[in-house]
Amino acid sequence: MNGESTHGCFEVILGEFKLSMDLAVKPGTVLVLFGPSGSGKTTVLRTIAGLIAPSEGVICIGGVEVFNKINGVNVPSYKRKVGYVPQDMLLFPHLTVMENIAYGIKNNKISDSVIETLIEKLDLDGLEDRYEWELSGGQRQRVALARALAPEPGILLLDEAFSSLDSGTRSRTRSYVRQVLQSIGIPVIMVTHDKEEAISMGDVLAIIESGELVELGDPVSILGHPSRETVANLLGVENVLSLKVKNIFQDQGIMECASESFSLEIPVSNNVSINQDVKIGLRADDVILASVEPKGLSARNIKKGKIQDIYIESGMYRIEIDCGHIVVSHVTKRAVDELGLIVGSEIWCVIKSASCFVLQD
């Protein structure tokens, strides 16, 4: 580990629950902690923030050791320079937006300009004198983020920070946040159980299950090739297709994305341009199979392929079809029997454009 690194290797025991972690985040990158509820994601954040003391281990933030069991180091929370945005109870209800943002910094000229910059970056102009109850969910999130960033922390911890927002606000807030995080360049650890969020925000994805780190790596590749069934279930998205935007038909509301051997028509997504690489997500439940070439369907994508593999997964049959790109479909046992699906047989995959979504813009 180099001097500037932010890493933690620690063990926490809370009653019956035991958590052991070994994580590292580089400045300017986002580590996403992903896992079912009760797996210990929030405990990881609280431990790093100094709100829970580990029973063993070392925690380092920006090269500074804040906890070391052996040397007896345990820097209190208020000296750790940690930005923490919890899931709920976001803003101090007795303070205005301005007072909330300024909470963690001493009043001086420099602080004024820091606050001004944050207000501008997070689009909070005109809300300075409002209280929590006068703000929308998305505004609260952004104020909470501004407050966490104002003291210029060495690390930012986001605990399901976007989960309470409706999906439209969520994606907008997310893109704001991502821009701001990129410009600040501090390590970020983010807890989520939203797969889209994990993919769109995360540089590294850590899967946590009952207090253990079970998988660590590139979010998209973890999605594409989940090495564990539980992980796949958690992530929910069985198909992640790496394609390039070939054509955009704005008037028809569709765009054509393709690789060398595979193409898909999907709904037009904002913020993409021709020749851009995109990741397309597709649920296995949304892939319909046909044993003869279907005709007269509204579905835009009908792909001929060969069944590569069939196995039972969470009560359904998981069919992997090679159509120039592996496409995963979930069908019932009856469908497998009636269509006579066996490995090696030819099959048509029917994919509605609307069931495809762009994961990374």
């Binding site: 609280r46 923030a49 100094g50 709100l51 209190p76 929370s77 208020y78 000296k79 750790r80 320079k81 940690v82 930005g83 923490y84 919890p86 709920d88 109870m89 101090f92 209800p93 007795h94 909470y103 963690g104 209280y131 929590e132 109850w133 407050r147 966490a148 003291p151």
Partner: protein, 273 residues
């Protein structure tokens, strides 16, 4: 159709509810109105009010209870905070013990205070050894008031501090506030309404304190005779005095009630709006 939701039964229920409400309000209201009526119809009312015994009792009541409240707030606030943040083991028992004076008969509290601070009491014998005698002094009045009324404040403070989500305190700490600063900037501002409500209740209890005071402090005019004690003494000699004092007590109680109402109506940061 369920017979319990029969609209006839519901109507009669509403009517009987209205009658019960009327009866209840009358039960409370008639004696109070009777007291006011007696005061107004008495020609000597203002003469009675100007009796030294009355204003001495009023002055004593106000100033002893003010000192009691000052001490209760200074000591009771941290106690409430500690109890709110420690909800297990010994603190649960402490919690119950602290609230005991609420249900204890005040006369018993007075005897208990005598056993502790009386001239032959556990602590009192040492105090009298160095020349400090507490029973039948103004200090004894304050002791009695604190003993019986502090639990109302401590209880309100404990509930108030408990209602502040710990997440706020956690965030404040990550923003660089040490625990003491967090208390001043977060916990206290979010709890002041509960604290004021508790203070009003506690003050009302201190002003009406009788049993413990008469046992431990006696009823000495200008020294230990507070308004309730003066009312009883007046009753023994001249009922017009008693009425005058009672009306004063009623006015003070109404002022406290008004104060409480104002606190409650200035709702908690409008979050429920």
């Amino acid at each position: 159709m369920n017979k319990y939701f029969n609209s006839d039964i519901w109507d009669s229920f509403k009517i009987s509810g209205s009658i019960a409400t009327f009866l209840y309000i009358s039960f409370i209201g008639v004696p109070l109105l009777a007291l006011l009526y007696a005061a107004i119809s008495d020609e000597d009312f203002f003469v009675s009010l100007s009796n030294p015994m009355v204003y001495k009792a009023l002055y004593l009541s106000l100033y002893t209870s003010a000192i009691s409240m000052f001490i209760i707030v200074i000591v009771g606030t941290p106690v409430g905070y500690v109890l709110a943040h420690n909800r297990n083991g010994i603190f649960r028992i402490v919690d119950i013990l602290i609230e005991l004076p609420i249900v204890l008969p005040p006369v018993v509290a007075g005897i208990a205070l005598l056993m502790a601070f009386g001239n032959n009491g556990i602590i009192g014998q040492f105090l009298s050894g160095i020349g400090i005698k507490l029973p039948f002094t103004t200090v004894a009045v304050i002791f009695a008031q604190i003993f019986v009324s502090a639990p109302f404040y401590v209880r309100a403070a404990r509930i108030g501090f408990q209602s502040v989500p710990s997440t706020y305190e956690d965030i404040a700490q990550t923003l660089g506030s040490p625990p003491m600063e967090t208390f001043w900037r977060i916990s206290l501002p979010l709890t002041w309404q509960a604290l004021l409500g508790g203070l009003a209740l506690s003050w009302a209890r201190a002003l009406s304190e009788f049993g413990a005071t008469i046992m431990f402090a006696g009823s000495i005019i200008g020294k230990t005779q507070t308004l309730p004690l003066a009312t009883l003494r007046a009753m023994e000699t001249d009922i017009t005095f008693a009425i005058a004092i009672s009306v004063l007590a009623l006015l003070i109680s109404m002022a406290i009630l008004l104060f409480l109402g104002l606190i409650v109506s200035s709702s908690s940061y409008g979050r429920s709006k």
